[in-house]
Every structure is written in structure tokens, then in C-alpha cells.
């Protein structure tokens, strides 16, 4: 049904007016000033050190999978911080706003966040953490490591890879923009229907949420295509399927999920878009709409998405545990099978997110038992890691600590998940913070996996290790913080605290809420140690060897450290599972190639970053209904894609002499070093 738009609209600026800038809110103004100051300092530093051409040539226009991966991870970490601040605000609001006598400031009756603002904060927290923090970090890890582990020079489609990154970045930029221009959705990260429909949500908040997710999920789908094609088509000779490292296997399974699940989200959001913009009736009340359809579509994506996030950390643990136990992975084949079992079952459990919908006992029974099945492959994985550690020579480096903590968190999250899979229990704790504590244990596995991976593979990319001392302080404060926040939350959930409360009506919950706040303070300390870890490591730069940890088993540790932009000087021939471990046992791990052949490399291109900027303009135009802007941006994207297909640049050739020179001094070939310009080819024979 067509609904009239509230508020003014002009052809030039759409719905955008000066009122959209929340200059009367001291929290947002403070954030803006902080962000603007940091932004200005960064820009000034780039200009002062004349790094702009370097930034443009080596990073913004790059098609190198390692640089793209690094940028993904930086994006993810920035958004992780933003999402954390949202969490901090929610916890602080809940610890203040307890009981009718609790104080209120800044226009709030209780606490410091009025309900509408609080609702935006939790919606942003969920959206950002899952889609703009976890997903880019994991995509970045896959980008950096998968080609190295299979002996490839790059991803299958380097150009598409850059497009994926910049589409994701465009979505993230829109979310950040929603903080300072307009508002964010108050309909939760899942988009509660029909609350997210235009009659009940006339502002631009839901539009920001919708378009930001839509753009980034397009990027994620492209990235999934790229990773699958890379693994299937780009493996080095001898790298048979059952010699693939487990991290590569999980990237294959997770990308299959990404490829098949994200289109469903795209459809769910597009139907909502049609409802809000065109006046269709998919999820409306009346006119035959059915808003439970949205919830089904959303979770048909949403549950596979959860496994999309959890599988890469499983792969990370499967790399780290053998390395630091100095043993091959226990049960390689079962590990691979379990990854695909988890991915497969992930497709058939979505309705356990809404047992209370009233599907009836048959469907609830089916989804309940399907959910319980997930425990089997996950259990297999846990036992495999434990048996790998059993009688191993374990060294507790930072990555190993993160991996062990991840396994513990997986147990917490897994067991409570088993409780929730029983509809009888689920009915009593539905939408309580017990569920929140459960899935935070699970997504914290993603966090520990990500931090483990960053610490583990950092030397490969940058040439030096992260500082172990500060890394361990970061680890302990983070894990302690997680326990102190989420263990009390389980208790509060069982006592009946529902989720998304901006006011706590039961003063007896105060002690546990204070405990949670203590946990948040520990998290803040952990951020300090994280930054200190990065600072100390950058300052000291203790060079790491090719096999940085000395006990690496897989192909990526056979390249130089830091890894050259062409990865392998000569493509390796694979002889065994865990090729490097095999070569070490045969005394061949120090053997380097002596003769080189020319390498065909792709040229950098500005088209992806331009598409990213245009996509953001398109999103912004749609959000504020500035039709000329959205139309022009969409047209420009189409023109850019077509124009690029007329580009005859076929990359360039790195000659054998040049490779020999770079190999003797690999820091010159490192991904962070500036490369001289190389003339492109304009014609290449089809292979």
C-alpha cells in the first residue's frame, strides 16, 4: 500500500535537510569531533609525508590479494571498535537505568540514552559486528592465506576481488555516515517486521541499514565466488584435494555458504525495499502481506551466515593447534567432513530462531533435532583438536592461547546452544539475554579465531612478529572480560531479563549488571593492550624467518617473509599433505628455487575503487531519496563496468632477472614496499 512520506522532500536534496544533522546530541557531536580529529590527523600525515601517490598506487588501486586482505582486516578492526563502543554504551545504560529512582541525563528519563537512541545503538551493534567487523576480517584472512596455502599467485579474479572489497567498504561507510547524518535503524539488526515498514518507521534509519547491508552482501557474494574458483582452479601441481590445508577447506565450505545464502538476504531486503519505496505489500499488515515470510527469508540467510562466520575460525584453530603442538592434525579427513557437515546442516535449521512463531510441534520437532545434529560434527572438531594437542610438544604462544580460549568458548556456546535447541527450553528463554549470552560465546569464537589468525600470520605479511608480551596481556584481559560480561548474562537471562531493554525494572539484577560493566572495563583495557601490542611491534620490528614459528606445516611458510607480491618465485610442486613438514622431515625445507621463469602479473586498476565510491553515492541517494544522485551513480557504475571490458591492458611480465634480483633482497618485493612502474602488455595469447 502506498504511504505518504513524512517531512519535506525537494528534488535537489531529497529528504536531506539541516535537521538531519544531530548537532544537539552531545554524544554524537563528541564522537564526530573525535572521528574528525583522527581523520584529519591521518589525512595530514599522509599529505605531510607525501604518501598519497603511494597510497593510491599501492593500496587503493591494488589487485594484490594480500593487500586487499590487509585492507579488509583494517576495515573490520575499525568497525569492530565502533561496534564495541555501541556495546559499551548499552552496558553502561543498563547499569545506570535500574529501577524507577535511577537518574537520567541528556533527555533520557533513566540512564543517558533515550529509548529511540538506545534502539539505534543495539541495532547498529549487531549489524556492525556481524556484517562489517567479523565478515571483513574473515574475508581478509581468506584472501591473504588461501592463495598462499594452495601455491597460487593470486585469486582467480583479482579485479573482482578489489570490487568486493570496495563494495563492502561502501556499505561500512554508509553505516558510519548514519551516525552523523540522519539516524540508524531502530528495528534491530534482523529488521523486525512490520516495525521496519514505512508506516511505522518513517525515517531514513531502516534505509541506511538496508542499503549498507545490501552493498556489502554483494561484495561478500563476489568474494565467495572468487575464493571457490581460486581453490578449484588455481591449485599448484600436486596439490590434490586431500592435500589441501584445513583452513583452505573451511574457506571452500564457508564460501559455498556465502555464495548460496547471501542472495536470499538480498531478496529479503529487496522485497522490503520495494515495500518502502514502491508501496508493495510483502511484509505489510493488511493487503495480504505476510511478515513471517520476512523472518523466514532472513533466517534462511541468517543461520547459514552464522556458520559462514564460525567455520573460518575452526580452520584457523586447525592450523594453529598442529603448529604449536608439533604434530600433524589429528583426523584430517574427519575435520574436512565435519566442516562440510556443519555447512550442510546450517541450511536446515533456520526456524530454530523463532520456535515461538507457532509452527506447530512437527516443524519445531524437525528444526530442533536438525539443530542438535550440528553438535556432532562440532564435537568431532573439538576432539580432533584435543587429540592433536595430546602428547604434543605444546608451546603457548599468543596464537595458541587464542585457539585454546576459542575451544573453551565454543564449549560454552555449544552446550547452551544444545539447551536452546530444545523447544521446551527455548519457549521459556526466547528473546531473553540467555540467548544473547549464548550467541556472544559463539561470535567470541570468531573473535578469538580472528585474533589468533592475525597474530599467527602477521609475520608472513609484514616480516616481523607481533609483540608476545603485550599480546598475552591483550589476550588475558580480553578473555577475562568475555567471561565477566557473559557468564552473569546467562544468569540474568534465566532470571527473565529480556533483550533490548533500555530500562531495567528489577533492581535485584543490579549486582550482575555491575559485574557485566566490570567486564566491559576489562574489554577497554584489552583494547589498550591491543594498541600497545601493535605500537611495540611496529617500533621493534624483530625480523621473522620464512617459517616464522619454526614449526609451520603448510605452504604459506615456504614463501619468503615478508611475502613478495608475486607469492612464489617459482610455483612449488606439492608432494604431500603438510608440504613444508614433509620437506623438513626429508631435509629439503631450506632448498630454494634457483632458476626463474617470467611471471605474468595483473596490472593495478582504479575501476574497483571508483565503483565503490559510486556505490556509496548510489546508496546515499537511495537512502535520502535523492533520485538524480542514485540514478546518476547507478548509470556511472554500469558505464564503468562496460568501459572496463573495453580495456586492453593484459597485465605485465615480471622478467626472470627481476625476480632473481627481488629474491635476493625480498624486503624490496614485500607487499608494503613501493614498486616501480612496469609497462603493461596490451595483447596476450589465450592459454
Amino acid at each position: 500500500m502506498q504511504v505518504d512520506l513524512q517531512g519535506p522532500w525537494s528534488p535537489l536534496f531529497g529528504r536531506l535537510t539541516l535537521d538531519a544533522i544531530p548537532y544537539d546530541n552531545p554524544i554524537i557531536v563528541g564522537t564526530f569531533l573525535g572521528a574528525a580529529t583522527i581523520g584529519l590527523i591521518v589525512v595530514a600525515a599522509v599529505l605531510y609525508y607525501k604518501k598519497l601517490p603511494y597510497l593510491w598506487r599501492e593500496w587503493l588501486t591494488t589487485v594484490d590479494h594480500k593487500k586487499i586482505g590487509v585492507m579488509y582486516i583494517i576495515l573490520g578492526l575499525v568497525m569492530l571498535f565502533r561496534g564495541f563502543v555501541d556495546g559499551l554504551m548499552m552496558r553502561t545504560q543498563q547499569v545506570i537505568a535500574v529501577g524507577p529512582d535511577s537518574p537520567g541525563v541528556l533527555g533520557a528519563q533513566h540512564g543517558f540514552l533515550p529509548p529511540f537512541h538506545f534502539d539505534q545503538v543495539y541495532s547498529a551493534h549487531g549489524t556492525i559486528m556481524l556484517i562489517f567487523a567479523a565478515t571483513p576480517i574473515l574475508a581478509g584472512l581468506g584472501n591473504i592465506i588461501v592463495p598462499l596455502q594452495i601455491g597460487a599467485r593470486d585469486m582467480a579474479y583479482p579485479y573482482l576481488n578489489a570490487v568486493s572489497l570496495w563494495l563492502t567498504t561502501a556499505g561500512a561507510a554508509l553505516i558510519m555516515l548514519s551516525l552523523f547524518v540522519g539516524q540508524f535503524s531502530n528495528a534491530a539488526w534482523v529488521g523486525l517486521m512490520p516495525l521496519a515498514e514505512l508506516p511505522y518507521n518513517p525515517g531514513v534509519g531502516v534505509d541506511y541499514w538496508m542499503w549498507a547491508i545490501q552493498l556489502s552482501s554483494l561484495g561478500t557474494t563476489f568474494n565467495a565466488i572468487n575464493i571457490i574458483a581460486t581453490i578449484v582452479k588455481m591449485r599448484a601441481p600436486g596439490m590434490t584435494w586431500f592435500r589441501l590445508p584445513v583452513f583452505t577447506w573451511v574457506n571452500l565450505s564457508t564460501s559455498i555458504i556465502g555464495l548460496t545464502a547471501f542472495p536470499v538476504l538480498g531478496v529479503a531486503l529487496s522485497l522490503l525495499t520495494a515495500d518502502r519505496y514502491l508501496g508493495t505489500d510483502f511484509f505489510t499488515v493488511g493487503h495480504g502481506g505476510n511478515f513471517m515470510l520476512y523472518i523466514d527469508l532472513f533466517w534462511i540467510w541468517g543461520h547459514p551466515e552464522v556458520y559462514f562466520l564460525i567455520l573460518p575460525p575452526f580452520g584457523v584453530f586447525s592450523e594453529i593447534v598442529p603448529t604449536f603442538s608439533e604434530k600433524p592434525l589429528f583426523g584430517y579427513l574427519t575435520m574436512v567432513a565435519a566442516s562440510f557437515a556443519i555447512a550442510g546442516i546450517g541450511w536446515s535449521v533456520w526456524a530454530h530462531h523463532f520456535f515461538t512463531m507457532g509452527m506447530g510441534p512437527d516443524l519445531n520437532g524437525y528444526f530442533s533435532s536438525a539443530t542438535m545434529l550440528v553438535g556432532i560434527p562440532t564435537g568431532v572438531k573439538i576432539f580432533n583438536w584435543l587429540f592433536t594437542m595430546y602428547r604434543g610438544r605444546i608451546t603457548f604462544t599468543t596464537p595458541m592461547l587464542w585457539a585454546v580460549a576459542g575451544i573453551f568458548l565454543l564449549l560454552f556456546g555449544g552446550f547452551t546452544g544444545m539447551m536452546l535447541s530444545a523447544p521446551a527450553i527455548n519457549y521459556t528463554v526466547h528473546d531473553s539475554v540467555f540467548v544473547i549470552a549464548h550467541f556472544h560465546c559463539m561470535v567470541l569464537v570468531v573473535a578469538t579465531g580472528a585474533f589468533a589468525a592475525v597474530a599467527y600470520w602477521w609475520p608472513k605479511v609484514f616480516g616481523f612478529k607481533l609483540d608476545e608480551h603485550n599480546g598475552k596481556l591483550f589476550f588475558w584481559t580480553f578473555v577475562l572480560g568475555s567471561v565477566v560480561v557473559f557468564v552473569p548474562m546467562f544468569g540474568l537471562g534465566l532470571e527473565g531479563e529480556t533483550r533490548r531493554l533500555d530500562y531495567i525494572f528489577n533492581p535485584q539484577w543490579r549486582p550482575l549488571l555491575i559485574a557485566e560493566e566490570v567486564g566491559i572495563v576489562l574489554y577497554c583495557i584489552s583494547i589498550f593492550y591491543f594498541l600497545k601490542m601493535i605500537y611495540v611491534s611496529l617500533r621493534d620490528r624483530v625480523p621473522a624467518g620464512d617459517d616464522a614459528w619454526g614449526t609451520g606445516r603448510t605452504l604459506e611458510w615456504m614463501t619468503h617473509t615478508p611475502v613478495p607480491f608475486y607469492n612464489f618465485a617459482v610455483t612449488p610442486q606439492i608432494n604431500a599433505l603438510d608440504e613444508l613438514a614433509w620437506r623438513r622431515e626429508n631435509g629439503l625445507d631450506k632448498v630454494k628455487p634457483e632458476t626463474f621463469v617470467p611471471i605474468h602479473m595483473p596490472s593495478n586498476t582504479a575501476v574497483p575503487v571508483i565503483i565503490g565510491v559510486l556505490a556509496m553515492a548510489f546508496g546515499f541517494g537511495m537512502i535520502w531519496r535523492i533520485w538524480w544522485m542514485a540514478g546518476a551513480a547507478l548509470l556511472a557504475i554500469i558505464v564503468a563496468v562496460i568501459a572496463r571490458s573495453f580495456d586492453k591492458n593484459q597485465g605485465y611480465i615480471l622478467t626472470a632477472e627481476e625476480i632473481a634480483k627481488l629474491e635476493s633482497k625480498t624486503e624490496l618485493a614485500s607487499v608494503i614496499a613501493e614498486q616501480p612502474k612496469r609497462a603493461p602488455l596490451d595483447h596476450v595469447e589465450a592459454h
Binding site: 582467480a156 565466488i225 574458483a229 531478496v267 505476510n290 600433524p328 610455483t571
Partner: protein
């Protein structure tokens, strides 16, 4: 399990010839993956169609039997299959390296594609003119979405064909152009397959109900 084979004198550690990847097959494979995701888009829309086509979703408006015409849909089916056949002829000409043959095949495929899209457009416009537009009921919303999504894909295919005509003339059959022509063939056949599904599930089943 990891077999600890010993390295011998013939063990090969590096393989300099391995860099030659078959770029056309890599691109075709990626396109198959894209089509899988596109198939999921249509699957979700079909599922939504199934959910939203009960009497409750009509909101007093017309249902499948009133908005579809199986005979007209049959003509559309013949036209789209004819277009696919014309494109197949272009692929045969590609094998023989005949620029004119490829161009002719694509032109016929394009013309039939345009005819198909205009018939669909005409149907939707007629419904809207009767007061049964997409905002009439949830059923009409999903019906319009299904037809329009397919039509949008067809439109992109037609634009793609236009670009390929230019590229064939300008570049000849380079690796890039051949890869694009092969991907376009898959895309076009895929859209025809989707249409057959639309015809069966919406036009035939709807007419029977």
C-alpha cells in the same frame, strides 16, 4: 592420512611450467558460480510466490487464474526458446570463426529477446491499467516482482549482446571476447530455463487452480 613418503632423487620441488592457467575455463567456472547465486535469487522469489499466493494474500484482488494467460505465456515460451536457439547458432558460427555468423545469431537472439520483454511489459501494464497494479495485494506484488526480476535479467542480457556485437567488430575473437560470448550463452540459456519454471509454476499451475 598423511603418508610419509621419502623424497627420492626424482622428487620435484618446483614446477615452473605450472603458471599457465586456462583463463577461459576459469572464467566460465566463475560464471557457473554466479549463476548458482542467481538461481538462489529466483528460488527465494519462487518460495515467496508460493507463500504469498494463498487466497488470504489476494486481499480481494485477482488471483493466479485471473492474471495469467497460459496461451499467451506459451507464445512467450516459444519466443524465448527461439532466442536461445538463435544464440546457439551464433555459438556454432563462433566455432567456425565466422564473425558475420556470430553477429547474425546474436541479432536474431536480441530481436526475439526484445519481443519477449515487451510482451511481459505489456502484460504488466495492462494489469496496472485495470487497477490491479503491484500495490493492489501481496499476491500481485510478488507476481510483478517475479516477472520484473526475470525481465530485468533479460534486459541485462540484451545490453550484453549489444556490447558483444561492438566487441566482436572491434577486437575479433580474442580470449576475453570468447570467454564473454560463452558466459553470455550460459546466461541466456539460464534465463530461458527460469522462464520455463515461471511458465509451469505461475502460468500453468495458476491457470489450473
Amino acid at each position: 592420512m598423511a603418508t610419509i613418503a621419502k623424497a627420492g632423487p626424482n622428487t620435484r620441488l618446483w614446477n615452473a611450467e605450472a603458471d599457465e592457467h586456462d583463463t577461459i575455463s576459469t572464467r566460465t567456472f566463475g560464471f557457473w558460480l554466479y549463476m548458482l547465486s542467481d538461481a538462489l535469487i529466483f528460488t527465494s522469489i519462487f518460495a515467496s510466490y508460493a507463500v504469498l499466493s494463498t487466497p488470504m494474500n489476494l486481499a480481494g484482488g485477482p488471483g493466479p487464474a485471473q492474471v495469467t494467460n497460459a496461451v499467451e505465456g506459451f507464445w512467450q515460451t516459444l519466443i524465448i526458446l527461439g532466442s536461445v536457439f538463435a544464440y546457439s547458432q551464433a555459438t556454432v558460427a563462433l566455432k567456425n570463426g565466422s564473425k558475420a555468423g556470430v553477429a547474425a545469431g546474436i541479432l536474431v537472439a536480441m530481436a526475439l529477446g526484445v519481443a519477449f520483454v515487451s510482451m511481459g511489459w505489456h502484460d504488466l501494464a495492462a494489469l496496472t491499467a485495470q487497477g490491479n497494479g503491484y500495490s493492489r495485494s501481496a499476491y500481485l506484488s510478488i507476481f510483478f516482482t517475479l516477472i520484473a526480476t526475470h525481465g530485468l535479467h533479460m534486459g541485462i542480457g540484451i545490453l550484453w549482446m549489444l556490447i558483444m556485437l561492438v566487441q566482436i567488430a572491434r577486437f575479433g575473437f580474442t580470449a576475453d571476447v570468447v570467454a564473454r560470448l560463452l558466459n553470455l550463452r550460459m546466461f541466456w540459456q539460464f534465463q530461458a530455463t527460469i522462464w520455463v519454471l515461471v511458465y509451469v509454476y505461475v502460468y500453468l499451475l495458476g491457470g489450473a487452480a
